[in-house]
């Protein structure tokens, strides 16, 4: 990582340059921040930059924001939920169930203003983005098509130069790439040129009337396509290398959503549709004319056969109009499942990042995961090897590919905010926002976050709250990028004290279970670590884990093995606030981390402990001793304690004083108070 100093100096310099040249010197424009792309991620970053009053520009090649959504999804229905009625008024909480809106201070700037549908029409989204851009007055320059991006390294700093279609240059100290994914992903195989693409197929079901259709891919776009033609096509087969993954089983919203899965029904009920697995680079598509011309004299219609690469004799001869029968798999395998021809083959394999505009000096490497479709980024979303270039939005999904929501609006709106905080700290010395809390208030604050926080809830296992312990108080830092924990101090600008830290993460269980089966849910808090559904987990470290610790973390864990861990048992209502199952175990864990009794006491108990000890428990120190003791209220139910010396009544324990009947008892006895009765051996 670069040292901060040069960047800072750079900024000062840019500042000077800006004053004197008014941004428009010899066709080159200079900006502190260039955001590439006015999609949801670009606008989201624009909002944070604008709120921080930074020198920024958003560059967009199209004439409006979110142009991807003008075309995609092809069948024009968004599958991100727009839940307007949650029964709650808490804005933060409601974002847990609003997957389309962007973050802003304006409480009304939400998707629900544009559409009231649970799955909004795709057109609503660019409309929403445009409203977002206009109402917040974001600086977007439309019609700027950046064709080339290169980095310029001077001895002191590094900047990025962007060249548009008119050869105009934009010089940026920080480049935020929010270009999304829009290059269709293709796989090369024999006959791959015979295949139609999702991007260009007809969306009119009539065009598929009585046709046999083969769809390559089993993602949401493939199923969306299948679903739209299900009523017209004679049969729909779907082929890809891995079996269908259902989002409700994997908890990954990029997997097949139930809203698109009608074909599974027709397949399993044996209604002519079907799913199959094969690696696409092992297949071939060959074309054969049907022998029907003799009767009608009409044009012979080409039919497509699926075959295997190894059966094709002349692999170089690509556009063979008529493949020989020996190339047909049915010729080799008697009951080959896809031996019948297809009228159409459609490719629905998703999209890839456009690496082509990056000069080698500015090009982030491809990621190891996601079939190399995405750029590889650091835990704080800076391109690997491209300091000062950050990747935002869907393109930054390589960090949590197939595990969390970072590839989707409801996830990356939070990672964009995290990146902005990284920028503020690195370039402007503004540490991450934090809240200072008294230690006795921490438990309530954690419960408050658990009850409403949307960031860690959506970006489970990726973003988490970090609590810096400082003795009698603590600093609460929200939504830190967990994978950057080893670099916490430099990234956030907060020091970790010798008291250590606690990280609060939302997690699913690691076990693959039957998510609709019996005993799917754990209700006993003492077995909370076996929870299968989303639940809070707290990690306590006495020092920051190292990068090595992070790399070697236990399989399936978001963080390395801590000193102590606490799982809060999953909850059907996702409200982790019951006194016995959630709150008390949490308190005991926090007490363990800080090695201090964190219980609350009535004034009378504080009175006793203040007189019998040099210092009373923390709660009394932070309340009672500041003359804010908690009085017993005079409601009748409080008198439960005075019900008399029933042998069945249970004493609360350690501080002998917690039972108010105690002194009376003694008064009556007139006897000695024994040290034995104190019970603190």
């Amino acid at each position: 990582m670069d040292s901060n100093l040069p960047c800072l100096i750079l900024f000062l310099l840019i500042g000077c340059v800006k004053c004197s040249f008014d941004n428009q010197h010899d066709g080159s424009r200079r900006y502190g921040y260039c955001v590439l792309g006015a999609g949801p991620a670009g606008l989201q970053m624009g909002y944070f930059l604008s709120k921080a009053k930074r020198d920024y520009i958003i560059l967009e090649r199209n004439s409006g924001p979110g142009s991807f959504f003008n075309k995609y999804p092809r069948h024009r229905k968004l599958i991100s939920i727009n839940k307007i009625h949650t029964g709650r008024q808490n804005r933060e909480f409601n974002l847990r169930h609003d997957w389309n809106s962007l973050l802003s201070d304006n409480p009304d700037l939400l998707m629900k203003r544009v559409s009231s549908e649970f799955y909004p029409p795709a057109d609503a989204f660019p409309t929403y983005l445009s409203m977002f851009e206009k109402e917040l007055g974001l600086r977007v320059r439309y019609g700027v098509d950046i064709g080339r991006i290169r980095a310029v390294q001077s001895p002191r700093d590094r900047s990025y130069i962007l060249t548009d279609q008119h050869a105009a240059d934009y010089t940026c100290s920080v480049l935020l790439v929010a270009t999304g994914l829009w290059v269709p992903q293709k796989v090369e195989f024999v006959g791959s040129d015979l295949v139609e693409g999702y991007e260009s197929i007809s969306t009119d079901p009539e065009d598929y009337k009585d046709q046999a259709v083969l769809i390559l891919g089993k993602g949401n776009s493939a199923f969306e396509t299948a679903q739209s033609i299900l009523g017209k096509a004679s049969k729909v087969h779907m082929l890809s290398s891995s079996p269908v993954r259902l989002a409700w089983q994997t908890h990954y919203v990029g997997d097949l959503r139930a809203v698109n899965n009608e074909l599974i029904d027709t397949y399993q009920l044996k209604s002519l549709d079907g799913l199959a697995e094969a690696r696409l680079d092992k297949i071939g598509i060959t074309q054969r004319k049907e022998q029907s011309g003799r009767r009608s004299g009409a044009q012979k219609k080409a039919k497509f056969y699926l075959t295997l690469k190894k059966h094709i004799q002349h692999q170089e001869k690509k556009n063979s109009s008529d493949a020989p029968g020996e190339e047909m798999p049915g010729y080799h395998i008697d009951n080959f499942s896809m031996r019948k021809p297809y009228d159409r083959v459609i490719r629905c394999l998703g999209f890839r990042f456009n690496f082509s505009v990056f000069d080698s000096s500015a090009c982030p490497p491809t990621s190891d995961n996601a079939k190399g479709r995405l750029p590889s980024v650091t835990p704080w979303y800076e391109g690997m090897n491209t300091p000062g270039l950050f990747v935002l939005g869907t393109a930054a999904h390589s960090r949590d590919y197939r595990s969390s929501a970072g590839g989707f609006v409801h996830g990356f709106r939070y990672t964009v905010r995290a990146v902005h905080r990284v920028l503020e700290q690195r370039y402007h010395n503004n540490p991450w926002p934090s809240t200072k809390l008294m230690m006795t208030q921490l438990q309530s604050w954690i419960l408050k976050r658990l009850g409403e926080a949307s960031g860690p809830y959506q970006m489970f296992q990726v973003l988490g709250d970090v609590i810096l312990l400082r003795g009698s108080h603590c600093e609460y830092v929200e939504e830190f990028t967990l994978q950057a924990l080893p670099q916490f101090s430099s990234v956030s600008g907060h020091e970790v004290s010798e008291h250590g830290l606690i990280v609060l993460v939302m997690q699913y269980g690691n076990n693959k279970i039957d998510f609709l089966g019996r005993s799917r849910a754990e209700t006993d808090w003492t077995k909370a670590w076996k929870s299968n559904f989303l639940h809070p987990v707290l990690y306590y470290y006495d020092t920051l884990p190292s990068e090595e610790d992070m790399r070697l973390r236990p399989t399936g864990w978001p963080l390395p093995r801590p000193k102590a861990i606490h799982h809060m048992v999953e909850d059907f209502l996702a409200e982790w606030d019951t006194p016995i199952s959630h709150i008390q175990p949490l308190r005991r864990f926090l007490e363990h981390c800080v090695q201090t009794d964190l219980r609350a006491f009535y004034a009378e108990s504080c009175f006793r402990s203040s007189l019998t000890h040099r210092k009373p428990p923390l709660f009394c120190q932070q309340g009672y001793l500041k003359q804010q003791g908690v009085a017993h209220n005079s409601q009748p139910w409080q008198q439960v304690h005075d019900a008399g010396p029933m042998p069945t009544e249970q004493d609360t324990g350690k501080t002998s004083g917690s039972n108010p009947a105690f002194p009376n008892y003694l008064a009556q006895a007139g006897a000695s108070v024994s040290s034995g009765l104190k019970l603190d051996f």
């Binding site: 808490n90 909480f93 409480p107 891995s242 079996p243 079907g274 094969a278 690696r279 798999p329 009951n335 499942s337 079939k371 809240t435 008294m438 419960l447 409403e452 005993s519 209700t523 003492t526 610790d549 070697l552 236990p554 606490h566 006194p579 016995i580 709150i583 008390q584 175990p585 005991r588 609350a600 009535y602 004034a603 009175f607 402990s609 203040s610 007189l611 019998t612 000890h613 040099r614 003359q627 003791g629 908690v630 209220n633 409080q638 439960v640 042998p647 069945t648 609360t652 004083g657 105690f662 008892y665 003694l666 009556q668 006897a671 000695s672 108070v673 034995g676 009765l677 019970l679 051996f681």
Partner: protein, 825 residues
Amino acid sequence: MMWMCVAVFLLWLRSGGCSEKANTSELIEYTAADFYEKLHSGKMMFIYFEHQVSPTISLFLLELEKSADALQDYGVLVGKVNCDKKLVQAYCTKERERHTAFLFRGGKEFLGFDLDTVFDVNSIVSEVLFAILREEVKYVHTDTDLLAMEKAARGKKDIVLGYVRSLGTQEHRSIMETAYVYGSKYQFILITGGPVLKHLGVDESSPSSQVWFLHCIVHSKLPRSSERCPLTRMRKPLSTLSLHSFLQLMEAPLVSEVYEDPSSVQNPQFPYQQTPQVFLFSRPATKQQDLDTATALAWRLRGLALLLLVHRLSPAVKTPDEYNAAYRLPEKSSEVKYLTLNDHDEVLELFTNHDKEEEDEEEDEGWLEDEEVDSHFAKLDDEIAASVYENRGNLPDMDSITQLTSANFHTAVTQSRLTVALFYLKWDAVSMAFLGSFIEVAERLEGSEVQMSAVDCGEWTDLCAAQSSLQIPFQPITAFPCILLLRPKEPAQHYRGMLGSEALHRFILLSLQASPVLLSTKEEVTSFLQEVPLPALAGYNPDRVMGLFKTQVHTGVSLFAEAAKSLRGEMLTGLLTDVLAEKWAAEHSMELPAVLVFPSWRTHTPHSTLPVSTSSEELLTHIHSARLHPLPELTVENLPSFLSLGKALLLLFVGEEEDEIGRRQNQALVEEMRGVVELGGGRMEQYLACWIHLGRTPAGMSVLGSYLGSMPPLPALVLTHLPSGNDIYQFPPNMPMVASSVLQWLQRIQEGAEPAAGFLGEDSWPPAVEFLDFLKIMDMQEPDSAQQQTPEEEEEEEDSKEEVVKADDSSSSAATFHNNPHSEL
């Protein structure tokens, strides 16, 4: 339909096997003559007069037959008389007899039972015994009745109280059978629900049949005599056998003292052989206390285990000192397990948990499981959380409170002269405990100009974070509960007093007064100094501060006004300027400007004049210290303000006075303390002389006990909280408490010539309960799952994680093509 089938089946049985059945039937069939003979002999008899046999009747007869055996033990003959053979007058003629069975006693019909109530063997036995024991077993409906019974039984008889869900059940039978045996020894009472259950602390929604033992004989010997007899609940499911052994356990000695090692103590003897034993240890030095402790625990263990107190110093005792308890379970091995307890609750848990586990096994798992919370973890150990939890059934009545939201906040605040807002979180026990007090204050203030309101910060998070784009007159709330006083166009004022209804109510009323009040006439001054401003405050005499300045524009005025503002609600402040001020100063022969404090406790010299201050903070400090009583009576409310002085406490404990003489004695003692302060002069500067009245502040009792290890005779004088150490000194109890000797004693302490009588506790407060270490559990149950990976493994890991698709394909694709032709190509 079902019934038809059964009926047909039974009919078939009867017709088919009639003759055979008659032979095997054990039910004695009496002839009319037999019947009369037995009747006249005075025997108890339970007889059914049989006419035609319908299916229902034949079912009844089967049950009647079964009950014959059981009732025989209680001297009741059971049988039937066949009316078809010979008519028994009065019983074989009327229609109603066909559905009734009769109990005869002393030669007469005692009671008729409708067959609906005696339908099976349990109901027959229980109802018949209930009838026989009519005099012995009382049926109680209300708590008042129960109380009357308890009063009557006090010192005479213990009470066995049974609750049965319905009569005629097996549980009912068990109680009646036991009552038959023990009826003369104990008073048996039967209840079937209602208010009595509430008194017993039973959840009324779905109680199961239970038995309690009310210890009324020992009642009078108990130290604290409440109206009620202490009670023990039987924990085992109700059956004749369990009830029997429970009653025997109640007879067992509470604590037995032994001089042997636990390992050589015999297993419990009949009839207690199924009962666990718990051992505690005693030393000669603390003999009485140890016995008290053991007795207290034994009361709680009653019915669960027997308690034995082992005399540790007895030569036969070999238990290492590190253990302070032991127990032995009755099962299989009779091995003694040793424990080191921090808390005697742990022993209790040992036995109550045991029950719980057994129950658990029977229960189904599932989301909607109706959990019974009774286990170790289920107990809340936080006193505030526990009291809120106990009260969870009663939802607070929030009608008297305005709910503030992000939407209505501004209008609500502008509409009212004073809005008091409680910011709370539902899951914060302190918030919820305080909410009750807050509502109480709101109810008291109803109809006044004060608007009492509340903000649920779990819902209106942006309002509580002061985040709204609108102007919010306060800082983000980060500590709960938080009470703000809001006035239109003014920054919010924090309430920083006790979280209780009295203190808050007083504060709100006082803050309705202007601060400072501008005093412009002599009458106003008098009224300010002498009258209580609001009738609602009657009986409370607030502290007052008055500022006197030559002119209104004097620099001191703004300083004073600023201080007054922050004192608003705490005390009354008044401002006097110009001519009036000068006149007042002249009358009282003092210089202007002046700030006078009138603490409520000061009666003879009514005010103290403060030194000139240069800042409002300084002024406030002066005001606060002038308010402090020089020889305060420490109470729960005021202790913090005196502790903050950081002085050692010369603390006098006086007891509750029973009469005027006692009162005067206590008064004299406090005066003597004043003497100490005065006589000591400068030497006393380092001490705060103070006293605690144990009648008014009973919490002081355990403080004193903990200082000295035992309760000394009162009065007691101690020196504690010395800055130099944790030692606590006690003024010799046999020495008369006079000023000079107290001073000498203090002198000796300083010289180190006095032995410490006790020590203050540590100031570190480690967690009271250990947390549940999930990491440890994971390591045990899934050994590798929580371990860091080793570097070599890691590469493999990354590979396999990287592309599931490729991994499972490269090997299998070819194969699937051939072998699995249908679905997976």
